[in-house]
């Protein structure tokens, strides 16, 4: 047999990859050489300038009542805000805290129920036959249509809000998990069967990890949906929370606080989504590496 060279040359010959801060520094250094950060800064600047021109500088009709970015940012950073809400007031921070806590509870319950439910539905044909029609009938009902029912069913402010956010999030998580199980290639089940897997092995070693990519895509959407229904619920029947802050500010004509709450929602929503993504990436090392490799 002739001398052979394995089809893997070039891999693993360089020094070990940097970790932690060194990795972050390395990525930052690389990214400033690409157009990405400049385009991002430019995009944000363009948006801010347009917004400011319309509202504060040119005072275009229909826009003049809307608080401009300079006004909002000044108010936000002011220790003594003119309209009562800023980074330094307790009321603002409590609103953020309350909303985040509600999301944590609702999203937690929805994930805790939705993922196992979706996995079972995907795994067991019989269970799916029982439950799928119910899911498909309840799922299209807009979450706002549940509001009166939630208020009748649950007393107080907190439980109806939590119920609505949980429900919206639950449907998304369940459906995505189910689709995740469906997406698993038949050959993995066959391979596992070939190696002597019992049904429970198949569940833990094929169904669960195989559905992971879809589960985490679903969770990212579901956390967004949870925010959506939370704010809607808070606007209708809240006390405290960012949705309540928006509605309350609107009622008492403190539009600066209203815009502040909206922008805060944007950032907090982005942060939760990024956290879900980060957890997903951590749990699916096998996938990241593959994607990273394809990107070379």
């Amino acid at each position: 047999m002739s001398e052979r060279v394995a089809d893997t040359s070039g891999m693993d010959t360089v020094q070990p990859p940097p970790t932690g801060l060194r990795l972050a520094w390395y990525r930052a250094r690389r990214s400033v050489k690409t157009p990405t950060p400049y385009l991002m800064v430019f995009g944000v600047a363009l948006w801010l300038v347009t917004y400011s021109l319309l509202t504060e500088i040119l005072k275009v009709p229909r826009f003049e009542k809307i608080p401009g970015p300079i006004e909002v940012i000044t108010e936000w950073l002011s220790p003594d805000p003119a309209w009562g809400m800023s980074l330094f007031t307790e009321a603002y921070l409590i609103n953020i805290y309350v909303s985040c806590r509600r999301i944590l509870i609702a999203f937690g319950i929805a994930t805790g129920i939705g993922v196992p439910l979706g996995l079972f539905m995907g795994w067991s044909k019989r269970f799916r036959d029982y439950s799928f029609p119910i899911l498909e009938t309840l799922r299209p009902i807009p979450i706002l249509a549940w509001v009166p029912l939630a208020i009748i069913m649950f007393s107080g402010f907190e439980t109806p809000i939590l119920f609505l956010a949980t429900l919206a999030s639950l449907f998304v998580t369940t459906l995505n998990t189910l689709l995740g199980v469906d997406s698993i290639d038949e050959s993995y089940f066959r391979a596992a069967g070939c190696l002597g897997s019992k049904p429970r092995h198949v569940f833990w070693h094929v169904v669960l990890p195989g559905a992971m990519p879809f589960i985490f895509t679903g969770l990212q959407i579901s956390v967004g949906v949870a925010w959506f229904s939370l704010v809607a619920a808070e606007m209708i029947s809240g006390d405290y929370g960012l949705g309540y802050m928006i509605m309350d500010s609107y009622m008492i004509n403190t539009y600066v606080s209203m815009v502040m709450a909206m922008i805060t929602l944007g950032f907090v929503g982005w942060a939760t989504s990024a956290m879900v993504r980060a957890v997903g990436n951590r749990m699916m090392q096998w996938r990241i590496r593959a994607l990273a490799l394809e990107g070379r």
């Binding site: 047999m1 993995y188 391979a191």
Partner: protein
């Protein structure tokens, strides 16, 4: 990586050669159809053949004939409509780890590293002490040239390495029969040749009964002891050609007059079959494929 991937001399140090069990597989009048009653698609009709112990039986046939169905039947993923398949006289009723399948596209579990894929089967069944599994897995991975890649995820390995990892995954179970379903499909020409050669050495070393399904005639002749040529759907056996080329096989043997004779004989049949389907269904793809094979 520069180490040669030549298999070492024996199956396991300290294990006598007889420890490798070999199966005789008999297919008796096996038929299989798919589809609804009013439009049955007969895929396999009355196939009777024997896979002799310690022999490599290669199966070639026109594209779209029931090659993969044949694999699924022998592997136990599907049951024949009529007839039976016996492994050492015992009827095959479902998948089992006495028959290992190497799939068309890789079926390594992408969420497990190469090493964990190899130990997956034995650890699941618990029929081998963990320490021994560990030792054996390392030895096999070393043998297929993946010693230093054992902690990589499958998607991080090249196509050739994935196939070798799969061979290790199959061999650790000491199967009586190895079933290969177009195992080297999708590899580039160079890697494919290396894998064919590597696989031949591996087979020649302990001559484990092997069913090797492929669409490449040259590949079939290179690895096989016997070559089964299938017909179009409904698939029957057209011809069984004994390949009397010496072992160990080398690629030079493929240019010998015998090999050329086998190739001509097989091509002749395949061409006839392709023409039949061309005349019947006007399926140009089959014709063009057969034609180009005849020319090439």
């Amino acid at each position: 990586m520069q180490q040669p991937v030549t298999p070492t001399a024996n199956e396991a140090p300290g294990t006598p050669a007889t420890a490798v069990g070999k199966a005789t597989v008999e297919l008796k009048k096996v038929s299989k159809s798919y589809g609804d009653e009013w439009e049955r698609q007969e895929v396999i009709r009355d196939i009777t053949m024997v896979l002799k112990a310690g022999e490599l039986t290669a199966v070639v046939g026109p594209s779209g004939c029931g090659k993969t169905t044949l694999v699924n039947l022998v592997a136990g993923f599907e049951k024949p409509d009529t007839g039976e398949i016996l492994l050492n006289g015992k009827r095959i009723t479902g998948p089992g780890h006495d028959r290992m399948v190497v799939f068309q596209e890789t079926a390594l579990l992408p969420w497990l590293t190469a090493y964990k894929n190899v130990i997956f089967g034995p650890n699941l069944r618990g029929d081998m002490p963990r320490a021994e599994v560990k030792k054996e897995a390392n030895r096999l991975l070393e043998k297929v040239g993946l010693g230093e890649f054992k902690d990589k995820y499958p998607l991080h390995l090249s196509g050739g390495m994935q196939r070798r990892a799969e061979l290790a995954q199959a061999m650790i179970n000491r199967p009586l029969l190895l079933i290969m379903d177009e195992p080297f499909r999708g590899l580039d020409a160079m890697t494919r040749e290396l894998m064919q050669e590597f696989f031949s050495r591996l087979f020649e070393e302990n001559r484990r009964t092997n069913l090797f399904v492929t669409s490449e005639i040259e590949e079939a002749i290179f690895v096989a002891d016997r070559l089964v040529v299938l017909s179009n759907r409904p698939t029957t056996i057209r011809e069984i050609i004994d390949i009397n080329l010496p072992r160990p096989r080398t690629f030079e043997m493929l240019s010998s007059p015998e090999a050329y004779g086998y190739k001509r004989q097989a091509l002749e049949i395949l061409h006839e079959e392709a023409l039949k389907s061309f005349n019947r269904s006007g399926d140009q793809a089959d014709f063009v494929e057969a034609y180009s094979k005849r020319m090439g």
